[in-house]
Amino acid sequence: MEEVAPKVTIFIDGQPFEVKPGKNLLEACLSLGEDLPYFCWHPAMGSVGACRQCAVKVFKDENDTVGRLIMSCMEPVRDGLRLSIQNPQAKDFRSNIIGWLMTNHPHDCAVCDEGGSCHLQDMTVMTGHNYRKYTFEKRTYRNQYLGPFLNHEMNRCIQCYRCVRYYKDYAGGKDLDVFAAHNHLYFGRHEDGMLESEFSGNLAEVCPTGVFTDKTLKEHYTRKWDLTTAPSVCQHCSLGCNTIAGERYGTLRNITTRFNGEVNGYFLCDRGRFGYEFVNSASRVRKPLVRSKLPESTSKSIALEEAAKMIRNGRVIGIGSPRASMESNFALKTLVGDEHFYQGVSEPDHDLVEFNLEVLQQTEAHILSLKEVERCDAVFILGEDLTNTAPMLDLAVRQSVRQQPMLEDVPKAGFPMWQDAAVRELIQDKKGPLFIASFQPTKLDEIATETFNATPAEIARLGFIVASIIAGEEITVHDVSEQTQRLAKQIADTLLSAQKPAVISGTHGGRESIIKAAANIGNALKAKGKDVGIMLTAPECNSIGLDMLGGHRLESAFDAIGNGYADTVIILENDLYRRASAAQVNKFFDKCKHVIVLDSLHNKTTERADVLFAAGTYAESDGTLVNNEGRAQRFYQVYPTTEDMQESWRWLIQLGDQVQHQHMRGWEHFDDLLPAMVVAHPNLIGIESITPPAEFRIAGQKIPRATHRFSGRTAMNAVNNVSEPKPAEDPDSALSFTMEGYRGQAPSSIIPFYWSPGWNSVQAINKYQLEVGGPLRGGDPGARLIKPTLQSRSTHFNEAPEHFQPLDRHLFLVPLYHTFGTEELSVHTKGILEKSPEPYVMLNSHDAQEMNLAEGDTLAFKIEEQVYQLPVKTGSFIARGAAGLPIGLPGLPFAALPAWGILNREISWKKQPQPIS
């Protein structure tokens, strides 16, 4: 708990200000809105005092006129402190410092991707260092290839050390470091190669200049001032990180971090940052299609008429999607009727998400936000490989292991927490407790206290034992090995001795029993009076939201069509071949009389469509997503689209209009949907007020998506028609598509970009926060829909599973996830596809030896009716009798994992034909 200390008074240039104690002077000055240049300090990483840029004059008392120069980032706030930012000596000092930092700067702003959003440019202008005095030779470097995401241009470096502090200290990366000495310092890898960290993309924002820049942006480079941007929410995992999506000339250009103090803070993972290219993909559905008609002769109205005919004449069911917005799912549910709405998720996901939600609603533990995980001082992860299933949670856990040593040692040493170098020097390699129970080793293992690699059943058993020990009950789990018992005791004791323990689990463990165990641990700790938090991951960006809307399981949809209860299906943004086995889905489609599909990308499901509507992606839509903790967050359309491509909910509303649906009467815009949704689903109350309504105006004006320096608008369309068309209007939100509108700060939930006079770079975030590093002015956006209720009762689960028993001629296949590859949409980015692994099956090396299989040999097995023939990878940690099968990789058929696979002896024992040389 942070203590609320009384504010203290400091004097800046003679003016008194009330500030919070415990901060440093730089933070205090920036929080007060002062412009003070800095480089090495970063709000998420604290101070090291390396760049000497934030110098101010501090005076002893009011009579002191001489004062002394100090680095404001290293000086704590004291009551009655007098400082001067404007003191000529201090100004001169800062200007000289930047002069020296710039001596080797390569004079290439014009061709630098950072230009226009460059902290170094901003600070140079701020200090008034206008002309170069240094006339001697400049030092140069060779650059490195750092993989498909980042571009390296070492000449621009000003040696602030932020990159290594972020990459190594904050994100736990190993392969970026500082090399050489004196004025030859080199920030890079030991040799050319891909950066290994899943969080490398943040270097582009952490670097104050253009050493690390976004390589995907370079492919279609656009200056920040030319982008049309809108607040968005990442669609590539369940955490719902806030992003800013930027567009130019009709294509999406980049994704940058949108600060949300509760969720992602200052950072994003690489899947979220670079996974946007599917929006520009050649396989986009760009206009509606009717199978019986030529594409040229199909217009929007014809497609709507055809679909309406099918709906009127058929018995219709609707299949929703966890990657479509709440609004789209709700519109479909209303169109087809509650009893005909099916959640388009795989069998295991459906059950697990439903169970997740149940636990979140009933748990006595506090539901953690991503930010709160960072503040926990003991973490127990059950069944999740966080790096691959919810990457930003991995980053949060990496911060949490520093909590305990920091809380223990730093106050004793008597210096503040923001003294980053001193804190790291003090705690060295000490790590707080982190326990990981997973199928096989994870990337987080390196910072874990203990790890436990086993099958889902064994993980759940461990969890149940831990819960029993914490609760002080008799252990009901039978037949426990001494080793497991010892581990469980250690985990239980550690969690009990922590101040803020956290339990992390989720759907990726593939078993309800794992979530049950996690819930039990949470409840048991709460019963012991602990301030315990729980976090459960979900499979996709709107999985929880879809479940809150309700709907039957996909299996029932197959039955409904199969048994002839229905004959027409509307599929919303969903590739069913990723949800059920190909045989099942094929049978389903063969039975359907009419298939209506709404999607943004061509896939196997759209191939079966009789009518295909071109749905907008998140960049072309407005919508709301509910993340894994039940937080509803709105994303906004970035740029206007052609008539033929629009939001799924808009297509569905128009379909409703065609068939004169009584419940959809009068629906037209985004804001018409929200009240209806809340009426139909009282559990979603709060979702209607997370953003200002479309009529919201400040001083009678909308909020502009484009910056005031947006260029080329009388020329960009002139080639087609020199008479400029009327700018597109946005009836769904308080944002305008042009640069016209209110110039000041927008409400926190609709900030389209960060900019403040003199602050063009992403560091302008400071100006949008209540205090530097704190929440945005007006509160962090989004609202929790799952609120702890007084009725929430402690549920205790008893059914611990039995031991895992290997089966002869069978393999128990557990799902393996990959940051790059598992997620459906992000693999359309070239770099992500490059980083995603080829399909494989992971065996225990002993099993492989028994089966006479070496690494790379082909193993054939069958899950239900689906035959797999995959190259073998071996590992010594995956349990014997079990095997790992990566999920969702491109080209790998669907399997409902975990499941038993039947080994196909004929093929597995056969040696691969040897080439005759």
Binding site: D108, K138, T140, Y221, D226, S711, G712, V719, V722
Partner: protein, 171 residues
């Protein structure tokens, strides 16, 4: 009365003055080199495109009549993929020329751009790019900037030392 006669006399004298009007278009007036007329994109002394697609001209343009897209050749040299100027909007203020860090965009003393059809006033890169240096001779941006491009490696720009050997232990 006198003033009236004086005026008539002075007006009469004009009949013998040298004529100010010229018989355009047969005869052309002198336009100084810095006269701000048609906009061109120039080349550096080596014949390469000077424009590096930095977008500063577009940002400086008060009527937003310049639109371009940056791209790179395989050696890392940046150039505009397209470059459009809508001359029906251009006010010939010359801000683009002032903003240009590479002397690429220049206003030249030519104003004969009249068109019957406004659409023809939209100039593409092909229409803008000339085979010469324009008003500013000898400047080659890539000779100064620290970017490596084809034919110019790191450390070969003006005032640059060869790339450091980061493995060297020498002071």
């Amino acid at each position: 009365m006198f003033s009236l006669l004086r005026t008539m006399w002075l007006t009469f004298l004009h009949a013998f003055h040298k004529r100010d009007t010229v018989l355009y278009p047969e005869e052309k007036n002198y336009l100084p080199p810095r006269w701000r007329g048609r906009i061109v994109l120039t080349r550096d002394p080596d014949g390469g495109e000077r424009c590096v697609a930095c977008n500063l001209c577009a940002a400086a343009c008060p009527v937003d009549c310049i639109a371009l897209q940056a791209t790179e050749d395989p050696t890392g040299r940046r150039y505009p993929e397209f470059f459009q100027i809508n001359f029906s909007r251009c006010i010939f203020c010359g801000f683009c020329e002032e903003a240009c860090p590479t002397y690429a965009i220049q206003l030249i003393p030519d104003f004969e751009m009249g068109e019957y059809n406004r659409q023809n006033l939209v100039y593409e890169k092909d229409d803008l790019l000339i085979n010469g240096e324009g008003k500013y001779h000898g400047y080659n941006y890539y000779k100064v900037a620290g970017m490596a491009i084809g034919g110019k490696d790191k450390g070969e720009a003006e005032n640059e030392t060869p790339p450091v050997d980061i493995k060297s232990l020498l002071p």
